[in-house]
Amino acid sequence: MKKEITLQTRRAFLRTTVLGGALSWTVPAFLSNTFSLLQAAAADSATQVATGRDSTILVVIQMAGGNDGLNTVVPFDNDHYRRARPKIGISNSQVLKLNDQLGLHPALGGFKAMFDAGELSIIQGIGYPNPNRSHFRSTEIWQTASDSERFEKHGWIGRYFDNACDGADPTVGVNIGRQMPQAFASKSLKGVSLDNPRNYRFISSERPMAGEADMMEQSFRGLNEAEDVNAGGSIGAIGGPAIRPGGSPLEFLERTALDAQVSSEKIRALADRVENRAVYPSSQLGNSLKLVAKLIGGGLPTRIFYASQGGYDTHSGQLGAQDRLLRDLGDSVKAFADDLKAQGNMDRVMVMTFSEFGRRVAENANGGTDHGAAAPMFIVGNRIKAGLQGTYPSLAPEDLFQGDLRHTVDFRSVYAGVLEQWLRTKSEPILGRKFAAFEVL
């Protein structure tokens, strides 16, 4: 019940301090007065949140392209595995052994260290019924948490925003990257996307002297104020679902322009102020997680961060490519965890990886693998149920479906576990029906 109280506090805070502060330059004076009054009233509860030490945070990492699960968590002692992978199989002398049957890919040293420290959970055999082998469709299924045959417009994270984050700041969801993932698609249009905090603002062409107003900046604000802010003057109109779902492209643009202004100042300030305390690989994923760590350290009121890493579509020459990608993944996540520990924030962060599918059990003629089905997921955190979870799917030819592994755990059970146990919200309205929550904590 303590959690519930914290969440209430958070919402109250969001309506006042953060939005009020960030919006003081986008709203007319009479409104900002209202804000400061509310802010004074909420000062007590605001302090608690401003330190950024309350709510749990989920960081989702997408491994785009379909990661080969078999060569990630390797059943090195399995005869079927060795027969199916004569060229690209990983031998028992190379793997980082987890037990006498399974080992991690040799490039996953970062993950192995966390596994040994009880901070890594490997959930085996994840998938969904009637698996689809198309990248796009399967990614869409993972992003929307829909059944294989059903099409959903909104993402599972978006539905979390719609259902559990009413009145929250748009930065309740932050995607690091240029394109917003479908998982964020929501009725309430929450979530922001950025890849470089330095350029995440309107850069005026004027260089006003000290004390002079930047007229271009002022005019820019006037040009990008959504109508409802001026007309309604209600606080709810800013953070809440002010725009009707399925509105026009222009309304969508106006809302995005407003969200951009609201989040820009805050995010840039944090990115400048907070220092990273770990050494990250100089990769795209490494840089993304570096920024996420800064935003967490600075107390941005974000519940879900999203970062991605691409290139797992290894139809040919898989050995080199996957080695490079997994090394980057393991090292980046390890650095991120070290950074959060140094900040004292590791307790409230959970990292979850996913890929749209695993790959065919048998290798192809080009030293690669084709699109498959079930594969493992990783969860990182220091309050999680660590270790090997679930059951490794059978590799026996008679147990395969069209050459692919059959899943033993539905990914939506994992989502349900994360939503209920970690984000502390009901999973049913978000996932559309009841899934047995996988024990993630």
Binding site: R133, S193, L194, A213, N224, G310
Partner: protein
């Protein structure tokens, strides 16, 4: 003009309006009547020594090999840069806007990336294929696109053979290029991959080759029909599926009109397409003349793609394209890096172009076009301070930006209201909200004069609105 091309100046639009819809559409659609003598880049031809050169690099001893490889990559990168500039220039200045716009459509449709192909000549060749068959016959285009060297590499067909058929192209040709998800079975994919074996890349002559020795000549069952099909048979069978016309006309409509067609409209479009024998040009003419294409809900409600935004702005502002490296960086920032789509599905387009990040980037890149200020260009293009300094040196003293005397008459510049009306007409072909116009008037009022720098400021501000992102 905005939708079938890349927009234009008020004078160009006026001229087109005066010629009448029918004539204007014909002028756009039957573009081959207009001569276009743009020369190809000088390296755009097969290189008989290329295979030998690549083999020599591979066989060179270690420190040397790495250096040779670096040089080769650098050469390809340089050519890719040239290619991007070459194409953008065609879009801005070329005499056949629809042909270039269709080439852009096919590039997004077949979504092949240099990142895997790694050969600028192949990328140019594919681009020329799209241009040549932009308005041609769909069966021919789909067949030639499948045999195109860049595509053979991109979707691994070049590595497929009888013993182990690679399913990549077989799947995507049905899912992404011609039919769509749900209109084929997994069995069709596996069998299609067998039919396609034998389609290969002749790396020596850098062109398609059919190799009977690696073709699986056995019986296949595809779409319920059984026979000893080969690749050509497969593509024909795909295009003959009733769904094929529905799929491609729906995609074309979405690209040009800005939103997917209703089911009824899509059925009508598909019927029209089939009636014209799968000919793209005659279909486009009918589409551009249809009443539905001018429905009020479609007017000024299409989010400009980054390329449309850049090319259209340059045309509206009657200024020069920024130097190619600046254009490339700009398009990458806005999310549409030419010759490098994010994945085989291409760019999602529509509202997906816009998020808080890309919208702010559009607002900031507007300054690059309007001011073309060397310091701004350098700062925006550079990723590191060292790069910024280098770029600043390179671009110092470069004249550029918008010439306000060229695009606005003295009368239009006479006072704030005539100026704002002229700018609205040129940039938006529509009106700002009263509140927005007031903001702009306040900005101009604070400046006093209506000189070049104030007018440029107003241009940039109008480009920094939600309204400007739509066409």
């Amino acid at each position: 003009m905005n939708r079938a091309g890349f927009g234009g100046t008020p004078a160009e639009i006026q001229k087109l309006v005066e010629s009448g819809l029918e004539k204007a559409v014909s002028q756009f659609v039957f573009f081959e009547r207009i001569p276009d003598s743009t020369p190809a880049p000088d390296w755009a031809r097969p290189d008989p020594d290329r295979l030998k050169k690549l083999a020599a690099i591979r066989q060179a001893p270690e420190p040397e090999r790495r250096e040779l490889q670096r040089q080769e990559q650098e050469l390809q990168r340089q050519r890719l840069l040239e290619l991007r500039g070459w194409w953008l220039q065609r879009m801005v200045r070329g005499p056949r806007p629809l042909q270039e716009k269709l080439t852009l459509f096919w590039h997004g449709h077949f979504a092949t990336s240099f990142e895997k192909v790694r050969d600028a000549y192949y990328m140019w060749r594919q681009n020329e294929l799209f241009r040549r068959l932009a308005g041609g016959n769909w069966l021919q285009l789909l067949t030639e696109a499948g045999k195109d060297p860049a595509m053979l590499i991109w979707l691994d067909q070049a590595q497929s053979r009888k013993q182990k058929p690679n399913e990549n192209f077989a799947r995507e040709v049905m899912e992404l290029f011609a039919l769509g998800e749900g209109h084929y079975t997994e069995m069709d994919v596996t069998e299609a991959a067998r039919a396609l074996t034998g389609w290969a890349l002749d790396r020596e002559n850098q062109k398609f080759v059919y190799r009977p020795r690696i073709h699986d000549a056995g019986e296949k069952t595809i779409f319920g029909k059984t026979g000893n099909f080969d690749g050509d048979d497969l593509i024909r069978m795909i295009v003959e599926q009733p769904q094929a016309a529905v799929f491609i006309t729906g995609k074309l409509w979405n690209f040009f009109a800005g939103e997917p067609p209703s089911r009824e409209l899509n059925t009508a479009l598909a019927e029209e397409f089939r009636r014209g024998g799968n000919n793209l040009q005659s279909f486009l003419k009918t589409m551009f003349l249809s009443e539905a294409f001018y429905a009020s809900s479609l007017i000024r409600s299409q989010v400009k793609s980054p390329v449309q935004w850049l090319v259209g702005s340059v045309r509206m502002l009657e200024c020069d394209l920024p130097p190619t490296p600046v254009c490339v960086n700009l398009l990458r920032t806005l999310g549409q890096n030419l010759f490098a789509p994010p994945n085989v599905k291409g760019w999602d387009g529509g509202l997906a172009w816009i998020n808080t990040n890309t919208l702010l980037a559009r607002y900031n890149e507007a300054e690059v076009l309007v001011e073309a200020d060397s310091a701004v260009l350098a700062a925006i293009a550079a990723r590191t301070p060292a790069q910024a300094r280098r770029a600043q040196r390179r671009l110092r003293g470069r004249p550029g930006g918008v010439n306000v005397e060229k695009i606005l008459t003295t009368e239009e510049r006479a006072d704030k209201d005539t100026l704002l009306a002229a700018l609205e007409k040129r940039l938006l072909q529509g009106k700002l909200k009263d509140k927005q116009r007031e903001s702009l008037r306040d900005y101009l009022k604070s400046k006093g004069d209506l000189d070049e720098s104030e007018i440029r400021g107003a241009l940039r501000l109008i480009m920094s609105t939600p309204e400007f992102q739509l066409s």
